[in-house]
Symmetry: D2
Subunit: 303 residues, 4 copies
Amino acid sequence: MDYQQLLSDAMGAARHAAGTGRVADYIPALAAADPDAFGMALATAEGEVFGVGAWEQPFSIQSISKLFTLTHVLAQGGDDIWKGVGREPSGNTFNSLVQLETERGIPRNPFINAGAIVVTDRLQSLTGDAAGAVRAFLRAESENPLIDTDRAVAASEAEHGHRNAALAHFIASHGNLENSVEVVLEQYYAHCAIEASCRDLALAGRFLARYGLRANGSRLLSRSEAKRVNAVLLTCGTYDAAGEFAYRVGLPGKSGVGGGILAIVPGRAAVCAWSPGLDKAGNSVSAVAALDAFSTASGLSVF
Amino acid sequence: MDYQQLLSDAMGAARHAAGTGRVADYIPALAAADPDAFGMALATAEGEVFGVGAWEQPFSIQSISKLFTLTHVLAQGGDDIWKGVGREPSGNTFNSLVQLETERGIPRNPFINAGAIVVTDRLQSLTGDAAGAVRAFLRAESENPLIDTDRAVAASEAEHGHRNAALAHFIASHGNLENSVEVVLEQYYAHCAIEASCRDLALAGRFLARYGLRANGSRLLSRSEAKRVNAVLLTCGTYDAAGEFAYRVGLPGKSGVGGGILAIVPGRAAVCAWSPGLDKAGNSVSAVAALDAFSTASGLSVF
Amino acid sequence: MDYQQLLSDAMGAARHAAGTGRVADYIPALAAADPDAFGMALATAEGEVFGVGAWEQPFSIQSISKLFTLTHVLAQGGDDIWKGVGREPSGNTFNSLVQLETERGIPRNPFINAGAIVVTDRLQSLTGDAAGAVRAFLRAESENPLIDTDRAVAASEAEHGHRNAALAHFIASHGNLENSVEVVLEQYYAHCAIEASCRDLALAGRFLARYGLRANGSRLLSRSEAKRVNAVLLTCGTYDAAGEFAYRVGLPGKSGVGGGILAIVPGRAAVCAWSPGLDKAGNSVSAVAALDAFSTASGLSVF
Amino acid sequence: MDYQQLLSDAMGAARHAAGTGRVADYIPALAAADPDAFGMALATAEGEVFGVGAWEQPFSIQSISKLFTLTHVLAQGGDDIWKGVGREPSGNTFNSLVQLETERGIPRNPFINAGAIVVTDRLQSLTGDAAGAVRAFLRAESENPLIDTDRAVAASEAEHGHRNAALAHFIASHGNLENSVEVVLEQYYAHCAIEASCRDLALAGRFLARYGLRANGSRLLSRSEAKRVNAVLLTCGTYDAAGEFAYRVGLPGKSGVGGGILAIVPGRAAVCAWSPGLDKAGNSVSAVAALDAFSTASGLSVF
């Protein structure tokens, strides 16, 4: 399969969506991004890497980090995490408190903010440094030691983070946090504010295309676990537009408000597209368009 | 009207409800209360005071303080408070986040926790010491200089206060707090943890029976404002059992999870009943029974 | 008290609100009304009647009929009705299905549509002709034998009544209807489509100002029951603006989308104002303004 | 791949789940089923058929019919259906009214009851006989002319169908039905009450494994449409347990309260398992267990 050509064509499709998205503006650091910047990279299961556009430019990975916190909790702690967080689509906006209230502090899935706070809490208990664990993994898989948290972004998120603080306190009121709200939020902001490129993320997500095997051949997740993480990505990975993403793209994927989306082609490749302009659901307009074009042209949708 | 006899009869009715309520147990300090302790006091518009049972025993006034924070904001700041808080019954449990989410951070009324947090914030802006203002007013009206915040209770509430912290952060995320979450919650806990007796509270509530006139003859609220506060008390003062309280008792009233209820007979008297055993809605079983018996026997319901 | 003068002044106040309301337009028959038509009548407990404006012009009483269905069920069947309907303010729009779903088919109170459907069902069981019972009562109290259902309006409501049909079927699915959905809705539309004037309604509501005594001196409700109906009116009678109505007017009242509001001054009088222009909550803008002016000027608020 | 062995092993796994499910009992006809009856069939893309247990025994297909109504609307009418129904997971129980109320009569997806009512309405508009179209398709694909609606079941569903009637009226109140509520519900019950066997359904679902090609080689859906239907099945096909089904089984599937589940292995096969005992979400306990075992042993999950 000519991946380089597929990426080029996908970038062409993304160009048609340019100008329609809106950059996340709840913190100044994200608001400054160029809405129409675009990059896309693909890493095959065998280790080849392809890229187009600004595929090596670092951006704020934001919620894409939640994929890595979840897999690390699963890798270290087994299935206990599912007692504190569900794995059903939320059917509500990604930071909804309503669901928490009606479901007694158990977030619907690990990829909405509330669920990611619980996952961060558990990873903190397991490692003592949740954000550090994510950074170390990203550096190792991408062989890029420069990957780091943007401290200014993390601080800015914390400053504007009343809503996440509300979620965390609410979860704590139901006894579903092991660490203090302050510690959990600090770690949460630290892993969300990591900067990485499409190239870095495609390489870091490759283990899910390899059924759990890391770049060095060691096993992070069992085959069954890796498949199940892909299932949760498909049903819950793109906020409350997961149905639409499955319909259009047909691949497991995780998006972030920094404009990145990391998608998995099981058995084949991990592919990451990035463009800061977002749609109403918080997903990158151009990245979705590029992945849509890619899966249509390649026939690599899982369906 | 023989108020002393009415109170004695009301206490008799309350005795029949003994044993059915459950003491608030979310903090140790409240959980230690005797569920069947009972006291009741009435202060007439003219200044007479009557009492039965443990009517001079101090207890934690809790949400009854919200009546005084509201009236002081109205007394000092006018009607601006109604931009940040509504005056409709909530139709939900008293600490619900759902309503806040669907109504963009404007609490339904000043007596649910969320609304009281907003009112405390505004009183803090107006006075620099919200809890101090409430204490000073209670002391002055009751001529009891010993009224004070129980610091142990306030600290314990803060320690177990994740739910209120969630509410405050959520309100702040909608830009509806002027002070920091930390300051507002500190003041909130400080006025909720005030200890006062039925006697003290009946005297302190007397201005609402006197259409706004304080004990010393000065005016706290205009006649119209006083009537309107009574209206909000009737429709919103007893959590999500306001309809039931209006149906059974027929008087404006404010309850607290310490077991106290302060009710107003417009033009006539303020009456406070107290017993720590609570019903599911958070209102004192015996205090409601006593006020029910009182209003039925006296015919003093507003309807 | 110079009631005639008070009514004249109230009409003056209402004139200032003219032009701001919007006529109910979900059925053609109501949409044709003049938004600024206005009438107001007051019937004292002793039997005097006063009126201003179009106080003798019949209009569609709509939800005001719900006050009469409730009192007739209470008069005939005692308190059993409260097993099938609550008496708490709803905190939601008047035709909400959400509440029914979360509270297992028990409507919050007898004055929201869902609750009124349950009350109509019970009155149908008790009388075999729910709407006929309401008509007979209105005719007797007002000594106006011409009061009748407007069949065209009832038919039009039925035709556009998918939402009420949804409510009724939903209640039936919870086993909370004794009669068939078809029969209940037919009766419901028949009593809502009764035409009566301010004069008629003030006379018909007089028994609530007389603590349960009808015009002929017979007792419809016990003193206690009458007071309790007033309490439910105050907390639930004006859709989800009950708090606002209590705050501004301070009287128990029931509104209808035909533009009428019937309010009770316990011990004194029943007063009905009418003007078809509605606010967002479905209450007549000018009728609320007139009642506000009346209660302020007279000092007759219950608070 | 030895499909016969895989089915035998899956039946063995299902046997372990026996005794834990509860038969749907909202109508007598379904309540009489043996909770532990079991059958399973697989039809390959090439046309081979395998079966174990009671794989040729007809059962009530119930909501599985919704897969066929949707595909026929798409086959005939194109994408217009997506204006009247969404394609996001619902995050609520399958017959929820709440979502309809907050989203103005547009059901979340075509597989919850509300959405299926809209789809039935559109298919009725397109064909004049929605249920007949489904029956004809099932008969043709399975070469079983005996497939038919069980009229007693359909009548019983209609009799106990207040909740679906509420949904339909509510949707109609938002202008989202083209036909009358009565006609739509009649068709809805008629296609839900079709009886077919695992064998029949596996053959009828085979076109989704063949990317849109029917048994006779004609095209029902384009390749892209077929993939997209599979995506909607995966995210929405098993009520509010779609996340769990994706996690455990990893295949697009549609369940019914008759106990059947039809799952698709894209490019390979359609497989149907049946056992009447249901879990809380309304999915067959043993059928899920069998499909879980099948996808795990075969490695045929899409992830």
